[in-house]
């Protein structure tokens, strides 16, 4: 088995995370990401004594909220925190595939 991911695999992960990577970084991550995956495989070897799924660090059940309205933000305040706005709308570069 290879000790590294392919270049394509690294680029794929980079695309999912929306980050640009340099040629040097790609080479570095090919090895590092593979090590991470191998470590996860090692964890998979643990023999489980029960099949119960753990989804949260607490064992308590969810406590639900009743359907009552709380505080909302003023659109003006929201627009202060976005890179670009237009009136009451948040503006972003055009989204494709819609």
């Amino acid at each position: 088995m290879s000790d590294r991911l392919t270049k394509q695999e690294v680029l794929h992960v980079a695309r999912l995370a929306r980050i640009n990577v340099t040629e040097e970084e790609i080479e570095k991550y090919q090895v590092q990401l593979k090590q991470l995956l191998d470590d996860v495989d090692k964890i998979k070897e643990v023999k489980l004594t029960n099949e119960d799924r753990l989804i949260a660090p607490v064992e308590e059940k969810t406590v639900c909220r009743e359907d009552e309205q709380g505080e909302m933000l003023d659109p003006e305040e929201i627009m202060k925190n976005v890179p670009s706005s237009n009136g009451n709308f948040v503006e972003v570069p055009v989204m494709i595939n819609e």
Binding site: T62, Q69, I78
Partner: protein, 472 residues
Amino acid sequence: MAEYKKTIGIEIHTELKTKTKIYSNSVNGYGKTANSNVNVVDLGYPGTLPTLNMEVIRLALKAALILNCEINRDMHFDRKNYFYPDLPKGYQITQAETPIGVNGYVEIEVNGEKKKIRIHDIHIEEDTCKSIHYKHHSFLDFNRAGVPLVEIVTEADMHSSEEAMAYVEKLRELFLYADISDCKIEEGSMRCDVNISVSKTSELGTRAEIKNIGSISNIGRAIEKEAARQIALIENGKEVEFATYRYDEKQDETVIMRVKEAGNDYRYFPEPDIPFVEIDDELIAEVKKTIPMLAGERRERYVAAGISLLNANKIIQNRNLSNYLNKFLDSGINLVIASNLLLGDISAYLNKMGTELENTKLTDEKFIDLVQKLDKGDINSKVFKDILDDVMEKDTTIDEIIASKGIKIINDPSALKTIISNVLESNSASVTDYKNGNTRAIKFLMGQIMKETKGSANPELVNKLLEEELNK
């Protein structure tokens, strides 16, 4: 040559009728100023955590029960990861592994044949923000972000556009009557995605997904168009591409949106911010109690009471009218007359005034009294029309209204007989026509008598006496 068979599966997203959103307590509302129903959770501000709305669980559970699903008693949520501006968190909180309901069914009827459409699952998730695209920019409105949805996924059990339309109509009717959603396809509170493939053999063809079809009739048209497109491809030796389409109503054709990539990159994993949700017997019993009589049972009861199927369906299309009529199901009054009143003059009045039944002065007692008076012939439909405005707008009883209008119903046979003889005398030509076999002449004579009595005669009684007189 073997025929092509269509195979269709449908995914429906429906917004739930709650006051607040699913994971935050901001308002769930339609048509407000952009970004005015938004809080820090909806925008995914760092450090915020989701809090689950109990009403969402109740409504989704109600939906799952109506769809005859098995309930996942220990359910959780999952993160569907994707990077897109319509969800600022970078993931949608949905249910992948433990949807609230699985293995259900909906019964539909097409051309008199009943059929069960299996439900693969119904799961809970949050809606994304609404985006408007203009030139090189997209404009985002987060009012819809975090609105609670249920997604209902069928098995690929449908084989015609009629079945697909019947399924969507049935689901809409169920959810509308159970008060789960307002199911407005045109406004987007109910959205349908259709998966369709064609094949001549038992092996399924490559399917195409048609997204977000805007009306039930368009579902039928989109299926027919897409099936024809796929058949033409296959007949020409080409392959159907595994892709997503939208239906263009103006062009009446399916337009490609994107080719589907193999496998998914959503990297689902359990949502750690929302621990397990327990659905116990108590909750199920509580929710079951909130399920009202559904459309199917209403239809059966109406038809059994003698109401025509056409009128039964008309009433069911208007939930307010149907709920009103249901108050009298066991009252013993004539439901055919009751339904005719509701669909006819009362609906016309409500439309004219732009109001609803509950805003009028029509009490249950007055309604029963009206129906009984019509049933016994104490008043006729002409009189009913004359008093309708007062019935709807005044606190007085029906008897008081009739008295105040100076209306006297002629129910006395001897008084009527005199009027009838007079009318027959002055219309001897029509009497001769009738005796010569022109049965339509009786209608004319009837009209003359009603005119003479200014519409205050009991029409059934007049009809009976008139026939007796003519056949002497």
